[in-house]
């Protein structure tokens, strides 16, 4: 591709990593959720770049628009409680946690390093790649059964969430 696209990709990637690190580094959880929002939007941009526009739009609507909204609701609901965490002592052993984290990073680094050389992407995409029509066809015809199962999952999740979250009066 052109150098501009390349630079755009690199900038997007850089920003994405920054914002995801920001999610865990910021102090207040409301700021963390905002960073997460930024991450999601950047991800949508990357999806568009990867010739999957429908997925990008769905990401924005579902993830950023629904899930993140619920998160923000709950964060606001508990807004007094976030301060209290510092008062309690951490009960999990830090040695264990740091060991796990460091080893994981190391192993991922090794994995990334070994995946450096991969074949280039196919240049010509099949017709209708990433459009709603082909995706819909694939979903309803090839993957019909998982689709129905997902619907059932949704039903169960709705009933479950309602039941768990209900206040006993």
């Amino acid at each position: 591709m052109s150098t501009a696209t390349n630079i755009a990709q690199w900038i997007l990637g850089f920003l994405l990593i920054l914002s995801s690190i920001g999610v865990i580094l910021v102090r207040k959880p409301i700021h963390a959720s905002l960073c997460f929002l930024l991450t999601l939007l950047l991800l949508a941009a990357i999806y568009i770049q990867l010739a999957a526009p429908f997925i990008a739009v769905m990401q924005v609507i579902v993830y950023a628009g629904a899930i993140l909204v619920i998160f923000v609701f709950v964060i606001v609901l508990f807004q007094d409680a976030h301060q209290q965490i510092e008062e309690f002592r951490a009960k999990s052993s830090p040695i264990l946690l740091w060991t796990a984290a460091v080893t994981f990073l190391a192993s991922l680094g090794l994995l990334a390093w070994s995946l450096m050389s991969l074949p280039a992407a196919i240049q010509t995409l099949p017709a209708g790649y990433g459009t709603v029509e082909t995706l819909g066809k694939a979903l309803y015809i090839d993957f019909f059964f998982p689709f129905e199962a997902i619907i059932l999952l949704f039903l169960v999740a709705i009933v479950g969430a309602l039941y768990i979250g209900k206040k006993e009066i």
Binding site: S93, L96, L97, A100, T103, F104, L110
Partner: protein
């Protein structure tokens, strides 16, 4: 034939079972009838067997009741062996046993637990009959242990008294020590001959080994150790004086007439083996002689009437072993028979007094009882004179025969020991008689009012025994021909050469005069001393009274170390080591559980961390 034998043998066992199973509900009369009836039936059976045996010419017979052990190298059966020796013993056992059962009816008239007593007495008769009728050493051992058990049960009859319980345990333990010797002997017999059938063993021993073979010496020594334990000879005698804690009829039956003679019976039964081991015979003779003298000395200083008689029993048993040691087995058996009558007589008349005085046996509390016990004191006097060796009572003949054998067989030192023991016998017995019956009384006035002569049921058996004592000597002596007992026993019990000389009748040798003179002298001396001075002749030497402190020595050497070890184990070893190690095990298990508990602390982040570690390992494995 077999039926009669089994009837005689097992009827007392039936009596025992009946009485012990119904001991709480059975009535007094019924219990008396069952107990005495069982022994009476036994007595009749053996009398019948005697007549039958006499008619058919005195062959020994074997009855195999049950084939017990038969593996390749070991053979042992329930063998009953009927010959003149066993018949003699069974008649003594059932005869004196029956008299003592009748006597016990009177003795136990105020006891509540009579059924238990008669049951155990019947059990004892059964075990003793099994012992003498056994033709197989292992079966004899069964009877041996049975009489030991019966002795324990009967000595400890008054189990509420700690002294009685301790005495019973002591008897059992000391018997056990002897039984170890006998058991080793039986095992050695199995090893040498492959079977314990007595006749087979005697034959095989004579075929396979020569006289004086060391292994036969060891074998006979082991048998003799068993006899030492059972018959209360010198190292293992201490249980017999303490066994007087039991009821007096028990002392009469078990510890005078029957159980303690089991050792002598064993030696006589295995005489073929003993004759092949002259070294053992010498040891037997010396042990018997020294025991005899030692017990006689101890009896001089006792103040308890029954203990005098107990030490006297030990002394007389020593004399019997003395006889066996000189090879004079027939004399030993003769003395066993007469001693059984006389000792039972002495014990039962003492029992009359003890019963009427409600259990006191201390002679210091008695005295002058001849005015109250008009008949008993005559009977006691007869017994005392008989045992002292005054002719023409029964024991004179048997004792004299033993002493003559000793001298003529060449064991002159043993002869003098036996002679001194016999002289001392007269002395202490007459001393006991005088202290109890003569002189001024030590009874309290109200006792003098209530005490009276014993009832007929207790007097009659004693009188029968008195009669036997007077005429029993006829069994074993005549002036010119072979005595009855001798001809009866001769096929079985070897009459050695010296006895054959005396076979022609009774001869008055110089030794006989020496013995008679010594006994008469000692009797008169004791009578004179104790009627005049009434035990003022120096206070009793405490040492002699306590049998030279042998009991205490045994306690310090054996009892005390064992008790210390037991104390150490209970208070030191067990809490510190055993409980500690158990505690350590539980603590270790808990620590392991606690370590594993840390994996389940409920912390989500820890769970995730472990999952991450696991996935890292998986990643590394899959990729590299």
């Amino acid at each position: 034939m077999l039926f009669i034998v089994c009837l005689g043998l097992f009827t007392p066992l039936l009596g025992f079972l009946l009485l012990i199973l119904t001991s709480h509900v059975i009535s007094r009369r019924f219990a008396y009838w069952i107990a005495c009836g069982a022994i009476f039936i036994s007595l009749c059976c053996f009398k019948f067997l005697l007549i039958y045996y006499h008619q058919t010419g005195m062959d020994a017979e074997n009855f195999n009741l049950y084939s017990w052990i038969s593996m390749g190298a070991i053979q042992s059966n329930f063998l009953l062996h009927i010959d003149s020796l066993s018949l003699l013993m069974t008649l003594i056992i059932t005869g004196i046993g029956f008299l003592i059962h009748v006597y016990s009816i009177g003795y136990m008239d105020h006891e509540e637990d009579y059924a238990r007593y008669f049951a155990f007495l019947n059990f004892f008769i059964f075990a003793m009959l099994l012992l003498v009728l056994a033709g197989d050493l292992l079966l004899l051992f069964v009877g041996w242990e049975g009489v030991g058990l019966a002795s324990y049960l009967l000595i400890g009859y008054y189990y509420n008294r700690p002294a009685a319980a301790q005495a019973a345990t002591k008897a059992f333990v000391i018997n056990r020590i002897g039984d170890l010797g006998l058991l080793l002997g039986i095992l050695l017999t199995f090893y040498l001959f492959g079977t314990t059938d007595m006749t087979t063993v005697s034959q095989l021993a004579q075929q396979q080994f020569s006289v004086g073979a060391p292994i036969i010496t060891v074998l006979t020594l082991l048998y003799f150790i068993g006899a030492i334990g059972k018959s209360a000879q010198l190292p293992l005698y201490t249980w017999l004086p303490d066994a007087m804690e039991g009821p007096t009829p028990v002392s009469a039956l078990i510890h005078a007439a029957t159980m303690v003679t089991a050792g002598v019976y064993l030696v006589v039964r295995m005489e073929d083996l003993f004759l092949m081991a002259p070294l053992t015979l010498q040891i037997v003779g010396w042990v018997g002689g020294i025991t005899s003298l030692f017990a006689a000395i101890c009896a001089l200083a006792q103040t308890d009437l029954k203990r005098v008689l107990a030490y006297s029993t030990v002394s007389q048993l020593g004399l019997m072993f003395l006889a066996c040691g000189a090879g004079a087995f027939y004399s030993g058996m003769f003395h066993l028979t007469t001693h059984a009558f006389v000792k039972a007589l002495l014990f039962l008349s003492a029992g009359n007094i003890v019963h009427m005085l409600h259990g006191t046996t201390e002679m210091t509390k008695m005295g002058g009882l001849s005015k109250i016990f008009t008949k008993t004191h005559w009977l006691f006097l007869i017994g005392a004179l008989a045992l002292a060796g005054i002719p023409p009572f029964a024991t004179f003949f048997s004792k004299d025969l033993i002493l003559e054998q000793e001298y003529l067989a060449g064991f002159s030192s043993l002869f003098y020991i036996g002679l001194s023991a016999s002289i001392l016998t007269g002395f202490y017995l007459i001393r006991a008689y005088c202290l109890t019956f003569m002189g001024s009384t030590h009874l309290t006035p109200e006792e003098q009012q209530t005490v009276q002569e014993a009832p007929v049921v207790m007097l009659a058996p004693v009188m029968i025994l008195g009669l036997l004592t007077i005429v029993g000597g006829l069994l074993g002596f005549t002036f010119y021909q072979e005595p009855l007992l001798e001809s009866f026993l001769s096929p079985e019990v070897k009459i050695n050469a010296i006895e054959k000389e005396l076979k022609s009748g009774f001869v008055l040798t110089p030794e006989t005069w020496l013995a008679i003179g010594g006994s008469v002298l000692s009797v008169c001396a004791a009578a004179w001393i104790y009627t005049r001075m009434r035990n003022r002749l120096g206070s009793t030497l405490q040492t002699v009274k306590k049998a030279f402190y042998i009991n205490e020595i045994y306690w310090m050497l054996i009892g005390l170390p064992l008790q210390t070890v037991a104390w150490a184990i209970t208070y030191i070893l067990e809490p510190k080591f055993f409980e500690r190690s158990l505690q350590w095990i539980t603590q270790a298990t808990q620590k392991v559980a606690q370590t594993f508990q840390q994996f389940q602390n409920g912390q989500i982040r820890s769970y995730v961390a472990w999952m991450v570690v696991g996935s890292v390992l998986l990643l590394v494995y899959l990729v590299f």
